[in-house]
């Protein structure tokens, strides 16, 4: 078990290192001069040079890479070219939007999908199963940004119940919290729908697979009530594939909200990257990508640990 986890951890660290090389070298070839973007069309060449050396852009690439790497290891991600504030601060502001959004979307999709999946599995082949799975099929096929557009026009423009976009911040007290929550509700719903559809399908098939296993048949044959078998025995064993998908979805939600953030102009991590790319704020792009890569690796590691705990066969290594 320890050996297995140690190996996964080592692989994760190596991945992180390779990723840092890829990110840095790819972004180095990005066209566009950050100094010119900061100063605008009419800036003089001297002012440009002054700014370039101020930002350290005139130093050799290798040195900049090493500085960046050691900086990140100590928690210093550098300073944004465009905002001239520390990348860590910028990221922290954005995480305060992206993380709650991801958690809300995930909670929502899990709360919908798992009961639906179990329900459909329990009623396999009946009308309710067919309807639920049909709805899930459609849900998977709907682009979340289109769904978001529809939601905005119904709930924000039509009924004027919820904000159409923007994020007021978390504010003070319960009122402020409520404002923030309201601003994230439509985006979270748009993100949750396709995810819930996928999750419901996975839950259903995992349940069906488990229900077909011998030990469940044995349990049923022993005369255990159907409900108890479903919840106590089947669900626990069906959780492994569900957990895998959840891990994947969480990783997706952290970074994949970029389109939804654009629809609702939320100041989240995705928009930060999108903006930073167009402003050639390389140091921000590099920092955020590395952060996302790291969090994906951590999530995968957690899923691996859950696997190992749930399935002893895996502990002996793959």
């Amino acid at each position: 078990m320890t050996a297995y986890l140690a190996k996964r951890l080592a692989v994760g660290l190596a991945t992180l290192f390779v990723a840092s090389l890829v990110v840095f070298s790819v972004l180095e070839i990005l066209p566009g001069d950050p100094a010119r973007i900061m100063l605008g069309m009419n800036a003089s060449p001297e002012a440009l040079d002054a700014l370039r050396s101020q930002m350290g852009l005139d130093r050799p690439v290798v040195l900049r890479y090493l500085d960046w790497l050691t900086g990140m290891a100590t928690g210093d991600f550098g300073r944004s070219y465009t905002y001239s504030s520390p990348v860590v601060e910028l990221v922290a502001e954005r995480v305060a939007v992206s993380l709650p959004l991801a958690v809300m979307a995930l909670t929502l999709s899990t709360a919908i999908a798992i009961p639906v999946g179990i329900f459909a599995a329990a009623r396999r082949g009946r009308l309710s199963d067919t309807l639920a799975m049909g709805a899930a099929q459609v849900g998977v096929a709907i682009p979340n940004f289109w769904f978001a557009m529809l939601l905005v026009y119904v709930f924000a423009v039509g009924f004027r119940l919820l904000p159409a976009g923007g994020f007021p911040g978390w504010g003070e007290g319960w009122g402020g919290l409520w404002q923030g929550f309201k601003a994230l509700l439509l985006p979270a719903v748009s993100l949750a729908l396709p995810q819930a559809a996928i999750l419901a399908r996975v839950t259903r098939s995992a349940m069906l697979e488990v229900l077909g296993e011998d030990y469940i048949r044995t349990a049923r044959a022993k005369g255990l009530p159907r409900r108890a078998v479903l919840w106590r025995h089947a669900l626990r064993n069906a959780l492994i594939p569900v957990l895998t998908i959840l891990g994947l979805q969480f990783a997706f939600l952290l970074a994949g909200t970029i389109i939804i953030e654009n629809v609702f102009y939320l100041p989240g991590l995705g928009r930060l990257i999108f903006q930073a790319i167009s402003q050639r704020d390389l140091i921000v792009v590099e920092g955020v990508v590395m952060l996302l890569v790291a969090s994906i690796i951590v999530v995968n590691l957690l899923v691996d640990i859950c696997y190992a705990v749930a399935d002893p066969r895996l502990r002996t290594g793959r």
């Binding site: 001297e46 001239s84 159409a164 976009g165 923007g166 309201k182 609702f264």
Partner: protein
Amino acid sequence: MKTFATMLGAAAVLLASGSAALSARTDLVVGVVLEPPHLDPTAGAAAAIDEIVYANVFEGLTRIGPSGEVEPALAESWEVSDDGLTYTFKLREGVTFHDGTTFEAADVKFSLDRARAEDSTNAQKVLFSAIESVEAFDPTTVKITLRHPQGALPYNLGWGDAVIVAPESADANKEKPIGTGPFKFDNWAKGSSVTISKYADYWGEPVALEKAEFRFIPDAAASVPALLSGDVHTFPNLQAGDALPQIEADPRFEVVIGATEGETILATNNGKAPFDNLMVRQAIAHALDRDEIILGASAGNGVPIGSHFSPANAANIDLTDTYPHDVEKAKALLAEAGYPDGFSATLKLPPPPYARQGGEIVASQLREIGIELEIIPVEWAQWLEQVFTNKDYDLTIVSHTEPNDINIYAREGYYFNYDNPAFDAVMEELGATSDPAKRKELFGTAQRILAEDAVNGFLFQLPKTGVWDAKLEGMWENTPIQANDLTKVRWVE
């Protein structure tokens, strides 16, 4: 099912109650397109900086008013010596910066010297090029000596790049701007908004608003719902022209189509074949249908232009008929130029909707005469580098929003690659002329040269689509200078 419906209803009531708490307002949310890179107007060319801080947070000796006129600001009055070489500014008393320090003549000297300095990062150093020296005569008097007479000095000092800053806080202005304006800077939530609030110790007439938030909404698509849902009270320049009929029909909003200083042009690389051929440029001019472009690129708002000059300017002459829309003539010219079957070229388009949508229409119109354009969308960063700096382009669409900028055609190495000694001579003469009638005539000549040379495809004057809550008053209708002046804005019931 019934319980579900009841729950939905209850949730709806709950949600609605959260946003319904409105009372007499002193707050304002302004929607702006671009987020500024920082907030120091003396260290960057980005219009987005001035659109937040100009007149609100920072003030200069003078300021530009809603119709483009020069008004006194921190200088109460000024006098010009007879030879036109010395300006004496009388400063206001009792003015303080937002950090409590007192404003006096030394701050003026510091600010102007800083802007003019060798290592200054001021984006408009040319504004100060005539200044020989700045002297703080006494705490309320400043004397500016010029190298040569410059009647435009008070106007120049009204630009955002010439605002007065304090030596104690100047270096931190990018992040935490400290000025003398009626609003002080509160907070900048990066990527989201900048908040300013009323400055209690302001020297002049206090503002009606307690708090104003500039919210960055880069996406035209997101701006309409933001307005309709009441999240944003005003867009000084709404980018979504096609939604206007709907907003105009809504009694909650006021829509005013004003003018900007933005000449929207199909900029042409005059230094590159086949565009170095006058007949090719004339053919393009004949192929363009301005009305269709205006309809598609800015929802029918926008005044057609025939040269690089604002139709609102008194010296403007209508040259839109120099090369009227005529597809047959365009084809003939193209054939005569040696391209009977047309040719292919690229069209680089920066992000604003007028460029992206206008570009599609231009491409469609030029296809009529056999010119196949490949559309290449670029970010502003790439546009600056590829088109503006390296002149690596065939055609591009862009709006030149600086006021009175016809002289760019005389600039050497400007990205049009246009070189006409006759035009340069007119510009030179203009610089040395002060007689208004003569100046007007020279401006006319200059416009005509550009139109006849078909330097660029002259399309239309960019409209300012101001949209605000009908209960708001005091918003600017035009954009004589890049600013969103909130000092006169108030809510009325």
